[in-house]
């Protein structure tokens, strides 16, 4: 194993014991980038290796633990493309709040990772700059939209990463890449500097190799931000070592998420996970959330509605790509026509449609009602259960191109993750098994602000079933160039 295969907390321990030099970690990651990046293409932009190495400071341990940032989170001075042609030449003029927080601890950024254009997609195939590949099987997608970040962590081209999650964009790629991903409670991590897809659903979160790293990274990025009006002024999560003791905990297995078109092998992994929890002393029961089946249609009204407005600012007037045109209007129209990819256009059109006069009540307002019903289902379930569980994705990582022609099928595959965003809840995805050497993710969902509980449950599972210790063959020493 190389240093790039270790977790952040393992590396920090080694550094503090002076068993390794801080720069060795960074060099190991850079080495991994050089070897794997041509095949994986996790990054859209990689900082100059010299600079990354020179950013290491002896007195700042986190400067030795390279972090990758999804290319829709602004890092001052670095490109921020959102994997879109329309922002292909855009350099971020300011730092997102999460980046400011990381910079306080001298976090060392490797680069910006690939995503589905404007975070719209579940496979990272919607990137204007080409897809990222799944380190477990190069023929398959890494999931999306934070596919670059998840693949990068899985392969060791960064130790940990930030992603963003609007309908599963952290958890699903984490699941597909065999890593850990957290979608925090809405409002606990500032969205300032995250290029908005659907404002009421977006959250930035960590993607890491294990639960401890996830808790650690989350502790650095969460907290109230006066620059984000939807950021909640609550006591922030502070990291404390996890015990994994879940004895007596009541866990609800969401019935509806185990039936609809689920891959039987995925279901088997989830059933096995139930057994593991029971062995650990938790009580697991099935629970029904009757409105959860409306999640996908609800989401595909609300998210595109917000997106159609959020993406209106990309018009070629002030920044980014600009197409020609005889008038300002023509220029703006051409810019958007040429600058956006097909999935983004599809969603802008969907969103424009559902907000139009005469359709607003029938679609948008109705969807808002269903959003409340879905949130109500969760609230009720949490009267009985401490956490809920489900698969993160009902299917295994699919092959590149397999679903590109069928967006509806792609949308439906997000059934397990979407309801959590609609309800504003925190959820973590952890590896819970492998099928034909492809990882399967378990989603653990909690009530608002229950991140520390999620970490305990996830940690308990992880200690009992250490799937997180597996690394894709490609990234290990066996990887041959």
């Amino acid at each position: 194993m190389d240093l790039a295969d270790l977790t952040a907390h393992e590396l920090l321990t080694l550094i503090s014991k002076r068993e390794i030099a801080p720069k060795d970690v960074v060099k190991s990651c850079i080495d991994r980038i050089e070897r794997c990046e041509p095949l994986i293409k996790a990054y859209l932009y990689i900082r100059d290796p010299e600079e990354i190495i020179n950013s290491v400071r002896e007195d700042m341990p986190y400067s030795a633990i390279p972090i990758a940032i999804k290319d829709n989170i602004l890092v001052r001075g670095l490109p921020n493309t959102c994997a879109s042609k329309i922002l292909s030449n855009f350099i971020a003029p300011y730092n997102a709040t999460v980046i400011e927080k990381l910079k306080e601890k001298s976090f060392n950024i490797t680069g910006k990772t690939n995503l589905d254009e404007f975070a719209m997609g579940s496979s990272t195939e919607n990137s204007a700059f080409g897809p990222t590949r799944n380190p477990w099987d190069l023929e398959r997608v890494p999931g999306g939209s934070s596919g670059g970040s998840a693949a990068s962590v899985a392969i060791g081209s960064s130790i940990w990463a930030l992603g963003s999650d609007t309908g599963g964009s952290i958890r699903q790629p984490a699941s597909f890449c065999g890593v850990v991903g957290l979608k925090p409670t809405y409002g606990t991590v500032s969205r300032y500097g995250l290029v908005a897809f659907a404002s009421s659903l977006d959250q930035i979160g960590p993607i890491t190799k294990d639960v401890t790293d996830c808790a650690l990274l989350y502790s650095f990025i969460n907290g109230h931000d006066p620059n984000d009006s939807t950021s909640l002024n609550v006591e922030p999560y502070r990291y404390s070592p996890l015990t994994g003791d879940i004895r007596g905990m009541k866990i609800g297995l969401i019935k509806e998420l185990l039936v609809e078109g689920i891959d039987p092998s995925v279901e088997r992994c989830i059933r096995d996970a139930v057994k593991t929890f029971q062995d650990l002393g938790a009580i697991v029961e099935e629970v029904s959330l009757p409105h959860i089946s409306y999640s996908v249609p609800t989401y595909y009204i609300l998210a595109p509605a917000e997106a159609s407005s959020n993406l209106a600012r990309f018009d070629g007037v002030r920044y980014g790509f600009r197409a020609g045109g005889k008038t300002a209007e023509e220029m703006m129209s051409n810019t958007r026509g040429e600058g956006f990819g097909p999935e983004v256009k599809r969603r802008i059109m969907l969103g424009t449609y559902v907000l139009s006069a005469g359709y607003y009540e029938a679609f948008y307002l109705k969807a808002l009602k269903f959003r409340n019903l879905i949130a109500g289902d969760f609230k009720k379930a949490f009267e009985r259960f401490d956490v809920l569980i489900s698969p993160t994705s009902p299917i295994l990582p699919f092959k590149l191109g397999e679903k590109v022609e069928n967006p509806l099928e792609m949308y439906l595959s997000d059934i397990c993750t979407i309801p959590i965003n609609l309800a504003g809840l925190p959820a973590i995805s952890i590896p819970c098994g492998f099928v034909n050497n492809l990882p399967v993710g378990l989603q653990i969902i909690g009530p608002v602000f229950s991140e520390s509980r999620l970490f305990e449950v996830a940690y308990g599972f992880e200690q009992a079933m250490p799937f997180h210790k597996r690394r894709p063959q490609l990234g290990g020493n066996t990887y041959g160039v």
Partner: protein, 478 residues
């Protein structure tokens, strides 16, 4: 046929907050282009709005002053449309839950006193400013955008179509302007664009219940233009209808130069703004305590001042002039605390002081005269120490230099002559030198008496107490 007119007015007022409505950039005019900007007001990716509390307070204050009900749960909406001066291509505005609703304003015209209902008062953000090379958009081959104005808080005040003449419209508009100025929330300068106005105009046969088809008038950039634009549009509509044709619902542009309205776009081309709740902001909760605290901050408004001034004995004309002039009314109110003759003060302020201010193109607070100095001046007249004429003479120095009237008259020996013996000798001299005039007077020519008084004043360089001169002269002439 006789027609009646229905006019509804939409006012946009730029609020005088220190910073913009959704970011901390300063609100300031005349700064070099694009120097007062940040990621938020430039609509950069990832930037988020944070609501300026002061702007909300100004909105609530105005809504209260206009007798509105305050929505306890006001929500911001996005108004979506593409235009290069709108950086996000949506404007954060308010839709079905504005800050204030169902208010009213009383206006008084030459004909009647009447209540104009106010539909809504809401808060939104201003756009940037487009500058076209060559000055006009048509034929211009390049345009520039200044985003300094982008995000400046705007208050939108919408009336019901209760206004029935251009005169009423102007009255409504000036009343709103005065209220905004008195509240200190807007400087109310239409010509500079800090207060803008649009009007919906329709006509209907007198007695008809259904409103006629309306047109929307834009580009009304001065108080003067309001009346003329509306009158033109009313005449145009009457002309159409009386020819048996129909008014088309459309937006029309007031062409100031040619004094006419021209069609901009018809209803078919109207925007669908796709309003939806702004997900980047949380609902604005306004509680009773906040409302009451603000209500207690509302200063005395022109309407109340007007009534109070009439009670002080001023004529309605004087009362109105004073009550609608913020600086002058404050000065007046301060002065009456020191000098108990409101009528006299009003007279001086509205005539002599106003004339001096006009000459200087200044408001009273921009000069050095104070209520104390004003009181001193008026007291000197009352005490008979100076004549009104002398007072008028030294007024400019009080205004420009802030000098004490008492000191001016002492230093320049302008104190009125009230010494009977001193005046008697002057009178004696005047009678001696004007024997023929005296003769005429004695024959009954009253005018001659005034001439003799004038001669006394001339010899005393205006310092003689005119009342005393009168008495003494009469006595001497028998």
């Amino acid at each position: 046929m006789e027609y009646e007119v229905n006019i509804g007015i939409e006012i946009h007022a730029e609020l005088l907050t220190k910073s913009k409505v959704f970011c901390s950039c300063p609100v300031q005019f005349g700064a070099p282009p694009n120097t007062l900007t940040c990621p938020v007001c430039l609509g950069l990716p990832g930037a988020l709005p944070v609501l300026n509390k002061k702007a909300v307070e100004y909105a609530i204050l105005t809504a209260l002053a206009l007798n509105c009900k305050i929505n306890r749960n006001a929500i911001f909406h996005r108004k979506n449309y593409f235009y290069p001066d709108l950086p996000k291509n949506y404007q954060i505005s308010q839709y079905d839950t504005p800050i204030g609703v169902q208010g009213f304003l009383e206006i008084e015209t030459s004909k009647e006193r009447k209540r104009i209902r106010i539909r809504r008062v809401h808060l939104e953000e201003d756009t940037g400013k487009l500058i076209h090379s060559g000055g006009r958009i048509t034929g211009s081959d390049m345009s520039f955008i200044d985003f300094n104005r982008s995000g400046v808080p705007l208050l939108e005040i919408v009336s019901e179509p209760d206004i029935s003449s251009p005169e009423e419209a102007k009255e409504y508009l000036t009343n709103i302007r005065d209220i905004l100025v008195f509240l200190g929330v807007c400087d109310g300068k239409m010509e500079e664009g800090s207060m803008r106005c649009e009007a919906n105009v329709s006509i209907r046969p007198k007695g008809s219940e259904k409103l006629g088809t309306k047109t929307e008038l834009k580009n009304i950039n001065s108080f003067r233009a309001v009346e003329r634009a509306l009158q033109y549009e009313i005449d145009r509509q009457i002309d159409i209808v009386s020819k048996g044709k129909e008014v088309i619902q459309e937006t029309r542009h007031w062409d100031e130069k040619n004094e006419r309205t021209i069609s901009m776009r018809s209803k078919e081309e109207a925007h669908d703004y796709r309003y939806f709740p702004e997900p980047d902001l949380v609902p604005l909760e306004i509680d009773d305590a906040w409302i009451e605290r603000l209500r207690s901050q509302i200063p005395e408004l022109p309407e109340e001042k007007y009534e109070r001034y009439k009670d002080l004995g001023l004529t309605p004309y004087e009362a109105k002039l004073l009550a609608h002039d913020l600086e002058m009314s404050i000065f007046f109110d301060e002065t009456i605390k020191l000098y108990n003759n409101p009528k006299n003060i009003a007279n001086w302020l509205l005539v002599d002081v106003t004339k001096e201010l006009k000459d200087r193109n200044k408001v009273i607070t921009q000069t050095l005269i104070t209520p104390q100095l004003m009181t001193e001046l008026l007291t000197l007249i009352d005490e008979g120490r100076i004549s009104g004429r002398i007072a008028k003479e030294i007024l400019p120095e009080v205004i420009d230099k802030g000098l004490s009237p008492r000191k001016i008259i002492e230093e320049r020996n302008l104190v009125q002559i009230t010494d009977v013996s001193e005046l008697a000798s002057v009178i004696e001299q005047v009678i001696k030198e004007n024997a023929s005039v005296v003769e005429e007077y004695k024959k009954g020519k009253e005018k001659s008496f005034m001439f003799l008084v004038g001669q006394v004043m001339k010899l005393t360089k205006g310092k003689a107490n005119p009342k005393l001169v009168n008495e003494l002269l009469k006595k001497t002439l028998g």
